[in-house]
């Protein structure tokens, strides 16, 4: 079992991006003659799953934003209600993506440093 909290933090974004990149990755392998039908099936299936997940989370955010707007709606604040729609954006999606980018870049840089120590 993977450690951490499935579906939370940057892990969710990491796997979604990994899944979305699978068809492109498989295409590259196909150009190198390393692909096969079963791998294509997995790549397509997981990327479709990722799209469904993204769509569902986006839809949830939209729904929650709409509910929030309805609960707080006053005639003089219609514009702020419209801006409050899709609460996903205001819950830090961009922050999470930036964090993920930072973590990935950092670990890739660490990978480029020659490994002088090996713990046993």
């Amino acid at each position: 079992m993977t450690a951490g909290l499935p579906g939370t933090g940057i892990g969710g974004f990491f796997y979604l991006l990994s899944a979305l990149l699978m068809p492109a990755h498989e295409f590259c392998l196909m150009c190198q003659g390393k692909s096969n039908w079963s791998r294509w099936k997995i790549a397509v299936k997981q990327s479709v799953l990722a799209f469904l997940v993204i769509a569902s989370v986006w839809g949830t955010g939209w729904l929650l934003g709409t509910i929030m707007s309805i609960l707080r709606v006053k005639p003089e604040t219609i514009s702020s209600s419209v801006q409050a729609s899709n609460v996903i954006k205001v819950t830090g999606i961009y922050f999470s993506l930036l964090t993920l980018l930072g973590v990935i870049v950092a670990i890739q840089c660490m990978g480029m440093i020659p490994n002088k120590k090996c713990k046993k």
Binding site: A3, L5, G9, A43, S56, M68, G111
Partner: protein, 349 residues
């Protein structure tokens, strides 16, 4: 590149079952092995000085029973004790509380198509789905194994070859000195050592095992503590090796970040924001990804009846996730900040 092994070559297999006080579950495990679609050459039950009838149950079923001179203190110790007795090309480690689908072994063995493949693991689903803790674990497993782990396998790096249900090439396993006792997650340690040595690990989602998961908080906490500390111990030991292994370094870095900062966000930041800004909507952060968890889980279900089970179990997932975050923070604090190693191995049931 090493030559591929013909699938027509006979595949001899020994199953090692480490067991400490497992008399209630052992018979079902052995029976599920007897019902496999491929023959198993030998089943070795390691009775780790049990105080119940574990050895008697195993002997009554006609399997090989071995008993170390004293309790080995861990599953790894028990498995290593039996490893020296294995005479077959392949070795399977199976928990004494885990039953298998009838074709599970066949599906795993089929994947050893190259000498570079050191281990193959399968999909794990809780056998019983009744209490909050079992339900939470059910959603957690189905989500992770149907989404995360298949992605890991596609990129050639399943993060863990699950200790409860994996098959190994015996010669490679022995060359790695078997299962190490230096961490509480010997399966993680072994998997990452395989990668360091240049071997491959595969995950087969169609090969299914059914372990008994902790049914109450007492046993769940023991298991979570062991897994949390085991993961962090392995990160600490393997870090310098992991950073040089492509996709694996990203997997581990992301998992460690989530174990630490996502846990802190979950437990401290979200409630603080809700209080400071007097906005309870911040608490939506606890469940806003419910659809993300639900979709892969629903699509993986095996029957219409399971759909209801998935939906009714979803709230338990969020309970388990919250509890898990507490143990992860404690493990990171203890192992990495305080540099104290937790070494007590306690079973989860």
């Amino acid at each position: 590149m090493l030559p591929a092994v013909s699938p027509k070559i006979a595949r001899s297999l020994t199953v090692i079952i480490p067991a400490y006080n497992e008399e209630k579950s052992l018979a079902d495990t052995i029976q599920s092995l007897r019902e496999q679609t491929v023959p198993i050459d030998e089943i070795i039950v390691v009775d780790d000085c049990s105080t119940d009838g574990t050895a008697a149950v195993a002997r009554s079923l006609g399997v090989t029973v071995v008993c170390p001179p004293r309790n080995t203190g861990s599953k790894a110790g028990a498995q290593n004790f039996a490893l020296s007795m294995v005479k077959t090309d392949f070795t399977m480690a199976l928990d004494a509380d885990t039953t298998l689908a009838p074709d599970a072994v066949e599906k795993l063995m089929r994947e050893f198509i190259s000498m570079e493949i050191a281990a193959v693991c399968g999909f794990v689903k809780p056998r019983y789905i009744r209490t909050v803790w079992e339900r939470g674990r059910y959603i957690e497993y189905v989500f992770a194994f149907s989404f995360y782990k298949q992605i890991q396998d596609y990129y050639g790096k399943p993060m863990i070859s699950s200790g409860c249900f994996s098959v190994y090439r015996t010669d490679i396993l022995r060359a790695q000195q078997g299962w190490s006792l230096r961490t509480l997650a010997e399966d993680v340690d072994l998997t990452w050592r395989f990668y360091k040595a240049g071997y491959q690990v595969r995950f087969i989602p169609d090969a299914i095992g059914y372990p008994i998961e902790p049914h109450n908080f007492h046993f769940m906490s023991k298991q979570l503590k062991r897994w949390s500390h085991g993961f962090v111990q392995n990160v600490r030991i393997h870090w310098n090796d992991i950073v040089s292994i492509g996709y694996l370094r990203s997997l581990v870095a992301v998992a460690l970040w989530d174990a630490t900062f996502a846990s802190l966000t979950y437990l401290i930041v979200l409630p603080l924001l809700a209080i400071i800004f007097a906005q309870p909507f911040f608490l939506l952060g606890y469940i806003i990804d419910a659809p993300a968890v639900l979709i892969p889980t629903i699509l993986r279900r095996e029957s219409k009846k399971e759909l209801l089970q998935v939906i009714s179990s979803l709230p338990a997932f969020f309970v388990l996730r919250t509890v898990n975050s507490i143990f992860m923070i404690e493990a990171v604090w203890t192992e990495l900040i305080c540099k104290r190693t937790f070494t007590v191995y306690e079973k989860g049931h």
